[in-house]
Symmetry: C2
Subunit: 366 residues, 2 copies
């Protein structure tokens, strides 16, 4: 399913094919937590350049329920997104959102953060849910220790995650759905190495780095990424989960990562913060009140093509829904254009220059 | 600017031309209070069938300010709506929203409902604001008494509204902007008649009925509309302000009204209530939870073409922004399709049958 096309030092240009179409890598996946990328229609997502999106197993099994979605024809049909979908396994949310959780080797028991309903999530259940959702790429259930976990905790989480990965692989049967493994171990390279070695031996079609952007410093993550990415098979897609800021994506790409996801562009958009090639812009700032210029003059997105900073500022000042929609749209388009530009740079063997140029522009402004 | 094409009893088929294009009548105008029809992009409005929208003088002069909008090229450019715009005069909001208002023949003094800023609105100021906004159709400033006002109050309001209408007409100078007069008088036909007679003598390019849907019963409004509409010139567009439900629009059309506006389709959409040809549907109702059918099988809107009732129900249950957007879109499309169907029926001389057929379907369900 993965074709590696070009190398530029460690950065890679590739293509992933799925039953719902392909996408070029490096690629960013907008997050559609509850079967919608917040505030945008599927058509707007396509217009923003999205080719693959992410859905959340934990949220969707709580509401509306994965069996309901299966009975209605699967997640693609339910949300009217006809491109590829990757679903996470729910592991991360069990550790970050769920209440009263109890973890054993068997699985996780916890209570829903919505209404306290008691629930179980085992590796087999996580696979079943993702098979019901019908995603193109599914993830193994893993245990996600916090960024400041000690070595004993890390090793215990890795041991359990390996056990769960094997059970997920054994249980998974859906035709056309690829199951990716997740390497844990925080910034401890020794543990990451051991975890990766065992997972690589199990021969998954793709590999993710989990346990980054969970409390450790960005610098620690940046330092660890090159060696961690190098632990993963050359010929398979590499996915850095839940990361991140534009700067983190470029560091990830330089390290050899192919896929990313993060709520940041949509969440920031709802909160009136925009990403631009000249760095972040806060649309609530009064400096924009009379500004007839677009948010970003070198952006080709719908928002920048049609509206002024003054209008966007007004929408947020007046608490109008269209503000979050237009800024989420821009931010996702910005992330996806950054990926397209990165791919072009890799293709021309100038990714390091591109990376340095982006940093210089972002820093010049701040 | 108005061409009367066909009569079907009192119902009329017509066409209005403006500097930003024309529209067929009867027509419904979605309300873009704060320079946005809540939750929809201009492209989505066009897709829903909108040809003219309404902007609110009171809201826009408070925020972001009419001079700011003028300096940025006018309301059309500010909100990226290239079709016709009608602006109200602010009179209705001064009476329904503003704090500590004091009305004299000179004008209204009040405090902003947002931050208490003291403001004045005179007839001349209302015209200036609308000239700054650059709307295609502007409205005179009027005094809007409540639906239960006694005759003395009504007569005083009409006397002042006539005074103000004359001053608005005298002050208005913007090329290409049509100024419509507003007939007040509640359900008192004698007062309506006197008010209309004086305004018709002033020779405005269009006439509105104000002071309906302000607390009187729907039956009282329905009973008064035929005679009130007949008070207005045959060859000029007739606009029933702030009305209403689909049933009210059909009664208005039967009475000879050409234009309508109301927040109902978008406000109801945000609150999970949909209008359909089989009557209203509450999308939060659990009966929709597993329903794979579209909201309305005979609706051609984007929402009905692409999403199930189950998905719409889920979006509202999960408090997702896309729910209000999709349901506002559907409701506006429904209102505009109802207008298109009404125009077709008038053109074929069968509006009474169409009207009766709509009522039968709506009632069969409820």
């Amino acid at each position: 399913m993965f074709t590696l096309l070009v190398h530029d030092r460690s950065a890679r240009l590739g293509h992933v094919t799925t039953p719902h179409g392909g996408f070029d890598t490096p690629m960013f996946m907008p997050v559609g937590t509850q079967a919608t990328v917040k505030g945008l229609t599927p058509e707007q997502l396509v217009a923003a350049g999205a080719t693959i999106i992410l859905g959340n197993t934990y949220h969707l099994t709580l509401r509306p329920g994965d069996e309901l979605i299966r009975n209605l024809g699967g997640l693609h049909k339910f949300m009217n997104w006809n491109g590829p979908i990757l679903t996470d396994s729910g592991g991360y949310q069990v550790f970050s959102l769920a209440q009263q959780r109890k973890i054993t080797d068997h699985g996780a028991s916890f209570r829903s953060h919505i209404d306290g309903t008691p629930l179980d999530l085992t590796p087999e259940k996580a696979v079943d849910i993702q098979q019901n959702l019908g995603s193109d790429i599914a993830m193994v259930l893993d245990e996600c220790p916090p960024g400041d976990a000690d070595e004993t905790t890390l090793r215990a989480a890795v041991r359990r995650s390996l056990l769960w990965a094997e059970r997920c692989k054994k249980h998974q049967s859906r035709q056309g759905q690829a199951l990716f493994a997740i390497v844990q171990g925080s910034t401890n390279l020794q543990i990451r190495t051991e975890c990766a070695r065992e997972l690589v031996d199990m021969d998954f079609p793709g590999y993710a780095l989990g346990g980054f952007s969970v409390g450790e410093s960005p610098e620690a993550m940046h330092a660890a990424l090159p060696e961690c990415a190098a632990l993963l098979p050359e010929k398979k897609p590499r996915y850095l989960m839940g990361v991140g800021r534009p700067i983190d994506l470029l560091v990830g790409i330089a390290a050899g990562i192919d896929m990313f996801d993060c709520v940041m562009p949509s969440r920031s958009g709802r909160n009136a913060q925009a990403f631009t090639s000249d760095g972040p812009v806060r649309m609530r700032n009064a400096v924009h009140r009379r500004d007839s210029a677009p948010l970003s003059s070198d952006c080709g997105c719908y928002t920048c093509a049609h509206f002024s900073r003054a209008y966007l500022h007004h929408l947020f000042a007046a608490d109008e829904m269209l503000g979050p929609t237009l800024l989420s749209w821009h931010n996702i388009a910005y992330y996806l254009q950054l990926m397209a530009d990165a791919r072009a740079a890799i293709g021309q063997g100038r990714f390091a220059d591109f990376h340095a140029g982006c940093l210089a522009r972002w820093n010049a402004r701040s």
